[in-house]
């Protein structure tokens, strides 16, 4: 398998999601299309209804209008007749005519009256009929047609009743539709029979029919019918639009169900639907004509009403279809686009996954459910295998056998579908047999049907970290051990005073059993004085620590004890104090001892002061003594010297040689004693002189000390070896005396030696300089070395080497006062070396 292994397209979930998206898109489209259709239908429905209503309103209006106007026309005609019936002049004229009085004039008047009416109201003809039915006057004269039976009947009725009689529109025998009114011309005397009747003959064609036919709105099929029920039939009174020559000739059974005219005859009014005389579906409005038996039926073909609605419907449907089709095309395009995008994403995702997997620094593997491992480079190198070596290995082969079952229990929940992922620590066996600790995160991938595909696992090598943790743990254990065994109490406490940690000694210091566990509790009441607590807290806040704070504390039994506190504040990342760690040491015993030491010291100091005062007194006495010696002893010596000399001078001639010798001895003795006294005074002064300790340049001092010896040096053969020497802390004047003494001694005690060698040297060790003056002179016997530095102690005869025996005592006293030491080494006849030590000066040469 190896690298050629095809990574499963992460089909399952993502493809599902993809498909669901497509379905959603499709469903959305369908719903939208349905919605659009529904809306279009509703819109069309509403429009259809509106248009229908519009048509109905139009029909109604037409029907009502025509009915009203037909009624008005009929009324007017009746009015004409009524007018004539009650025309007194006409009646008188007719009476005159009939009576034969002035017949020609009367006839003329009647004729003109009738002609006026005929012309004015556009009657076809007006005929005056004498009682009994004889036509008297015809206007126009051309109207010669005989009176029909219908007219005769009407005349008879009118004469009888004295009321205007109106005919229906009827079809006369000549085949012409006519409407006739008979007005009885009433006699001038009430109660008399009418003098004559006037027959008014109106032609429906002239006025009524055109009026009826007239359709006020543009319409292809609009038609108005004037119908009347006659018996069980309904008669069409007017000419029809769609069939000529039908007036009064067409009739239909009144029971005809779907015929609007029949419906009118049956008393219906308003809007009806049915089929007209042609058998064509129509919509009609029926209106009765007032004061007549007539009905107006205004109708249009249903098709004319419905056609635009249908047209609109088709248009709407077409438009809707267009919109839906466009939507469909759009959705399809979108779908396709998404499809491609998803494909591209899938490819990219696969590539990314492949890249991440191969090049991740983190160890990664894909492991089949039965354990076969496909590892990336990082994982391989972690285990020390090459990519090819690790192929076909199972994770169980790479795991310490004793761990396998436990790891399997970690993986089971994933395989069972209980968990999505798992994380655990796991050991792996490297190719070289070594083991590493890893932190493992794994996730089980499944295919679209939910079958396990492989575990995708990330493996982090934490061997180092684990080792560090183990070491840390061991270090902590060691720290614990040390802390537990401390004699000092250890505590770690929060700023609120809650103990985080402490050791047994802490409890013991506070007077509790060492096994008490105070962690999580507040620190016991500890401070003897509240002020001390304030100081402790302030130092921690300001300096971050408290050092060797000796303070009184309280045990839990109330006893007072002295403790030595050391503590430091531990700050968090934000700089605020998080906790305080410190130690507390029971110092009571030690403090008592210390107090005793202080007391003893004070006592000792007092004793020293007392003794010093005593010594000062003694020194004062000694000083006074020395002063007296200086003054009082020297005077007599001087006198002895002076007067013996004067005596010798006075008796120069008489004094023999022996006497002169005695005077000479006296004088020399006196001089010696003078020197002795001077030396003693010098010795006394070096003990009392105030010290001025400073770094002294010894090279210079040595040269100064050598100056008084020049005289003797000039007369002898001296081999000097004077090395440069370091500086020392000393009193310059006093140390010069030391050098003068040692150097003059060296010169003095080497007189017998030839050649004479004197060496001055020094060496510095640990802040101490040791100066030496070595000579090859007479030396001394080491068994008497201890006497060298005593006052008046001499190892040589004064006659051999002059001196008072005070010089080295003085050297010893000075060096001792300067915190040094002086010693001598020598051998009789071989020479001597005198050495002294001094504190080295701060700055060395």
């Amino acid at each position: 398998m190896g690298d050629s292994r095809v990574i499963e397209r992460p089909s399952g979930r993502e493809t599902d999601r993809h498909r669901r998206g497509q379905w959603l898109l499709f469903a959305g489209f369908v719903v939208l299309a349905a919605l659009i259709t529904l809306l279009a239908y509703l819109a069309w429905r509403q429009q259809a209804q509106a248009m229908t209503e519009q048509a109905e309103r139009s029909l109604n209006a037409v029907a009502q209008l025509k009915a009203t106007r037909i009624a008005a026309w009929a009324e007017e005609r009746r009015g004409d007749a009524e007018l004539m019936s009650h025309d007194a002049l006409l009646s008188a004229a007719i009476g005159d005519l009939l009576a034969g009085r002035d017949a020609a004039a009367s006839a003329g008047r009647i004729r003109s009256s009738l002609a006026q009416i005929q012309r004015s109201y556009r009657y076809v003809d007006v005929i005056l009929v004498a009682p009994g039915g004889r036509p008297l006057i015809r206007v126009p004269a051309s109207a010669t047609h005989p009176l029909g039976p219908e007219v005769r009947g009407m005349i008879a009725e009118a004469e009888t009743t004295g009321e205007v009689v109106s005919s229906d529109i009827y079809l006369a025998i000549d085949g012409v539709a006519r409407l006739e009114l008979v007005a009885p011309v009433l006699a001038q005397r009430p109660g008399d029979p009418p003098v004559a009747s006037v027959v008014l003959h109106a032609d429906p064609k002239r006025f009524l029919y055109p009026f009826i036919q007239d359709w006020p709105l543009p319409s292809d099929s609009g038609e108005t019918l004037l119908v009347e029920r006659r018996g069980d039939r309904v008669v069409y009174l007017n000419e029809l639009r769609h069939r000529k020559g039908t007036a009064l000739k067409l009739s239909a059974p009144a029971s005809e169900e779907s015929l609007p005219a029949a419906m009118a005859a049956r008393g219906r009014s308003g809007i009806v639907e049915g089929e007209d005389y042609r058998g064509v579906p129509v919509m009609a409005a029926i209106a009765p004509v007032p004061a007549t038996d007539w009905f107006v039926v205004a109708k249009v073909d249903t098709s004319e009403v419905l056609d635009p609605i249908r047209r609109r419907g088709w248009m709407t449907a077409g438009f809707t279809l267009l919109v839906v089709a466009l939507g469909a095309v759009g959705s399809l395009l979108l779908w396709r686009l998404r499809e491609r995008q998803v494909d591209a994403e899938l490819v990219a995702s696969e590539q990314t996954f492949r890249y991440v997997f191969d090049s991740a620094l983190l160890g990664m593997s894909m492991t089949s459910p039965d354990g076969e491992v496909h590892a990336n480079a990082a994982f391989c190198s972690m285990l020390g295998y090459s990519t090819s070596e690790i192929a076909h290995k199972r994770w169980q082969d790479l795991t310490p056998p004793e761990d396998v079952s436990e790891i399997q229990t970690q993986l089971d929940p994933l395989l069972e579908g209980v968990a999505d992922s798992a994380r655990f620590l796991k050991r792996y066996v490297r190719k070289d047999g070594g083991q590493i600790w890893t932190d493992v995160s794994t996730r089980l991938r499944r295919d679209a049907e939910g079958r396990p595909l492989y575990f995708l696992t990330a493996v982090l090598d934490i061997t180092q970290r684990k080792r560090a943790e183990d070491e840390l743990r061991a270090g902590e254990a060691k720290f614990r051990e040390v802390v537990e065994s401390l004699e000092e109490g250890y505590y770690s406490v929060t700023v609120d005073g809650v103990l985080l940690d402490h050791n047994p000694a802490y409890c013991r210091v506070l007077g509790m059993d060492g096994h008490t566990d105070l962690r999580g509790q507040r620190t016991p009441d500890f401070w003897w004085r509240e002020d001390d607590r304030g100081i402790y807290v302030r130092r921690l806040q300001e300096e971050g620590r408290v050092r060797d704070y000796l303070v009184d504390a309280k045990r839990i039994d109330g006893a007072r004890l002295a403790v030595l506190l050391n503590a430091h504040a531990v700050r968090g990342d934000d700089g605020a104090i998080e906790r305080v760690e410190g130690t507390v040491l029971d110092f009571t015993a030690r403090k008592a001892a210390e107090d005793e030491v202080v007391r003893l010291n004070a006592e000792l100091e007092q004793r020293v002061a007392d003794r010093t005062a005593e010594l000062d007194g003694a020194n004062k006495e000694l000083e006074a003594f020395a002063y007296s010696v200086s003054h009082d002893l020297r005077a007599p010596l001087r006198h002895i010297s002076g007067f013996s000399t004067l005596l010798a001078d006075r008796t120069t001639k008489g004094l023999d040689e022996k006497s002169l010798h005695y005077v000479d001895v006296i004088t020399r003795s006196v001089n010696e004693m003078g020197v002795l006294i001077d030396d003693l005074l010098q010795f006394s002064r070096t003990g009392r002189a105030e010290l001025n300790i400073e770094p002294v340049d010894m090279d210079v001092v040595i040269q100064e000390a050598l100056a008084p010896l020049r005289h003797e040096m000039a007369s002898r053969e001296l081999d000097w070896s004077i090395e440069p020497v370091p500086q020392a802390n000393a009193d310059r004047a006093l140390i010069r005396q030391v050098w003068a003494n040692l150097l003059s001694n060296a010169v003095k005690y080497t007189r017998p030696a030839t050649p004479t060698r004197i060496k001055v040297s020094a060496r510095e060790t640990d802040g101490v300089v040791v100066y030496s003056v070595a000579d090859n002179g007479v030396g001394f016997d080491m068994q008497y070395a201890h006497k060298l530095f005593g006052v008046f102690q001499r190892l040589h005869d004064a006659s051999e080497f002059e001196g008072t025996g005070i010089g080295l005592a003085n050297v010893h006293r000075i060096v001792t006062r300067l915190h040094g030491r002086v010693w001598a080494e020598g051998e009789l006849g071989k020479g001597a070396t005198f050495s002294f030590s001094l504190p080295a000066a701060q700055e060395t040469k």
């Binding site: 002063y627 200086s630 003054h631 009082d632 020297r634 005077a635 010596l637 001087r638 006198h639 010297s641 002076g642 007067f643 013996s644 000399t645 004067l646 004088t667 006196v670 001089n671 004693m673 003078g674 001077d678 005074l681 002064r685």
Partner: protein, 152 residues
């Protein structure tokens, strides 16, 4: 007290007669001995200079020099020196301390008080003679005396 007829030029304040004799012996070599007046202690020396006490109405002016021992009864040399330097009429008087004391404190004090010289008497008589002779010759004969500060 010797009282020569002519003006004394050296006043020697010295309580020890041996020292007086030896000093005079040394001065005699240059004929200066008869110009010496000796005061036996500090009080006498001061009274002499101020013409007070036993010396009231004495004749003559101030000495050319005062040779002053330190250790004397009643008033020691240091006190005498302090008196003289504190007295406007005597403050310019040449004073030489001639003493056995080599004590450092004495030397410092004397110089601080304005002594003109400090000489330690050598024990050896030869040296003593030379020292005193030199002093006498220098102060009595060579040195120019300060102007008198007081009319006779």
């Amino acid at each position: 007290v010797s009282n020569p007829s002519h003006l004394p030029e050296i006043l020697l304040a010295e309580d020890n007669p041996n020292d007086v004799e030896l000093t005079l012996e040394a001065l005699a070599a240059h004929n200066l001995a008869n110009r010496v007046t000796v005061a036996r202690d500090g009080v006498e020396a001061v009274e002499y200079l101020r013409r007070a006490g036993a010396f009231a109405g004495r004749e003559g002016g101030d000495p050319a020099v005062l040779l002053l021992d330190i250790k004397m009864p009643r008033m020691d040399g240091i006190e005498v020196l302090r008196e003289i330097r504190g007295d406007p009429t005597l403050s310019r008087l040449p004073v030489v301390i001639l003493t056995s004391s080599k004590e450092e404190q004495d030397i410092i004090t004397a110089y601080d008080l304005g002594v003109n010289a400090y000489v330690v008497k050598p024990v050896d008589f030869e040296s003593f003679m030379r020292a005193v002779e030199s002093l006498g010759v220098f102060w009595a004969l060579i040195n120019e005396r300060p102007p008198r500060t007081r009319a006779d």
